[in-house]
Symmetry: C2
Subunit: 304 residues, 2 copies
């Protein structure tokens, strides 16, 4: 048996993810008119499925997209995508696209479109190369700025990522692992798939504006509270990150990931920070113990 | 014989446009990592094909995309898409997508992707409802701002259009035909598929920053020169547009289109302006006379 690349759900049926497509005329493509979310599955358990669904529903509401499936149907579809692929560790993506106009018209008010739900599972992935998860990532503060909320509401998880791609070119040209983008106001925002944190004097800080409020970011606030570490949102500059005692990323694609270099300069002594490493261990230990887990198998009910 | 919806070219073959798709995992979709251009065809002639190709090549270069086809191959493919669909009046779209990583890896430096060329023809369309082309459009100055060049380089024709869609909701909720977006600095930029112009005291002005420099915008500069009308780029505010003597749009999807209302307020006496109407007539008369035209049939050569 060959390993599955993943299973997709589209237009009421399941199919291999590599066979799932959208039309080249679809506004989800031509206008990036789509919102999404991604929940991780580890050893057969969704992590914080409710939080991801809540954020997904919020993204839909903000962009005036109406899901054609109910909450319980969506849970079932996500579980089916994971289960049918045979994945124990995976990512489950859920999308809502604007879809075609009612009646087949090519133009009109976007409220008159028939919104579509798409989901798929793919193997679990790390937003930083896996071999750096323990030793620490090299992050690049890019010149390209994150598009501001007045243009593209970054609280909505969206596909408008040309700024991110330009920043990735900058980071990878420089030999770094991933970029972090500043806002047009000059404050740290986020990177591709992660939020960024610094720690100074046992206080953990993360940016609070012009970014997606990550579910793992929320998790870190809880882990800090449990660990007696003060955690807060704060406007942070490039200088704050470069001169932090410790730095780390929070992400569905890897949990808590130490940052040990920023723009070719070591953070602290160049090794993952003590508090960072403690939070990283706590994250994985609590997940292994079933914290905020929902078994995929619990969501499998008949679609009929 | 049923009329064609259009013909697409993808991965070396031609197919009905409605059958042309991209994978849901393709970064062209998930990151809007794609650039494009659109050239119009009227009565069998491309209009300003060289200008559109030059801009397309510039968009590719800026975003570090390498076209897998030569200039002559692209001209031929565009002509084939139009010709095979049997269109006399059409739009020909050309896309370059980032494409998959060499060797099938899921992550890496985006420079290591195999860039793809896609093209298709569809029937000619008007960016403003066709019945308004002569009587004038109602334009809405949206609260949503156009993403700034420091984030998303708007000189590159791109699919990152969540700001445009949000603005379209605003415009259409208000009963207007289309939005125009301000920059984050508060100056007029552009709308979906068009540049915007005002005329005061026989001087035509159009915004100069944070926008796509339209080929029809360039055409209007030439038409103004021919007509003895001064034309210039200028920072323009919402107030400048609302209080202009005349206003119009320039677009591949309709040429010169009068604007007669802005945010529920009449422009001038509420009828298309005299100079605007003269430019509109000149545009279509010169096109009909073959100005800047390349016959589609001239581009049809064997691909073999």
């Amino acid at each position: 048996m060959t390993e599955s690349n993943g299973v997709a759900y589209k237009a009421g049926r399941f199919l291999p993810v590599e066979d799932a497509t959208i039309g080249i005329l679809d506004p989800a493509f031509t206008k990036a008119d789509v919102v999404f979310d991604v929940v991780s599955i580890w050893d057969g358990n969704f992590f914080r499925l409710n939080d991801h669904l809540d954020r997904f529903y919020s993204s839909c509401e903000t962009t005036r997209l109406t899901l054609p499936l109910s909450d319980s149907e969506i849970r079932n579809v996500l579980a089916e995508c994971v289960s049918r692929a045979g994945f124990s560790r995976a990512m489950a993506w859920m999308l809502c696209t604007r879809g075609p106009f009612k009646g087949g018209s090519a133009f009109g008010h976007p409220k008159d479109c028939v919104n579509q739900f798409i989901a798929y599972s793919i193997p679990y992935y790390w937003v930083i190369p896996e071999e750096k998860i323990d030793s620490g990532a090299h992050i690049w503060i890019a010149d390209t700025r994150r598009a501001p909320d007045v243009s593209i509401n970054q609280q909505v998880k969206n596909y408008n990522r040309m700024d991110i791609t330009a920043a990735q070119f900058e980071a990878m040209d420089a030999g770094a692992d991933a970029p972090v983008l500043l806002s047009t106001d000059g404050f740290l925002t986020e990177g591709p798939g992660f939020n960024v944190w610094i720690i100074n004097n046992k206080v953990a800080s993360t940016p609070g504006t012009n970014l997606l409020e990550g579910v793992t970011r929320k998790t870190v606030f809880e882990l800090c509270q449990e660990s007696g570490i003060e955690a807060r949102t704060e406007d942070l500059t490039a200088n704050d990150l470069e001169n932090a005692e410790e730095a780390f990323l929070s992400t569905t694609g890897g949990g808590v990931i130490p940052v040990t270099r920023v723009n070719n300069r070591s953070i602290g002594n160049g090794a993952p920070g003590i508090t960072t490493t403690a939070l990283q261990s706590l994250y994985w230990n609590k997940r292994a113990a079933g914290w905020n887990c929902v078994p995929v198998s619990d969501c499998l009910t008949s679609l009929e």
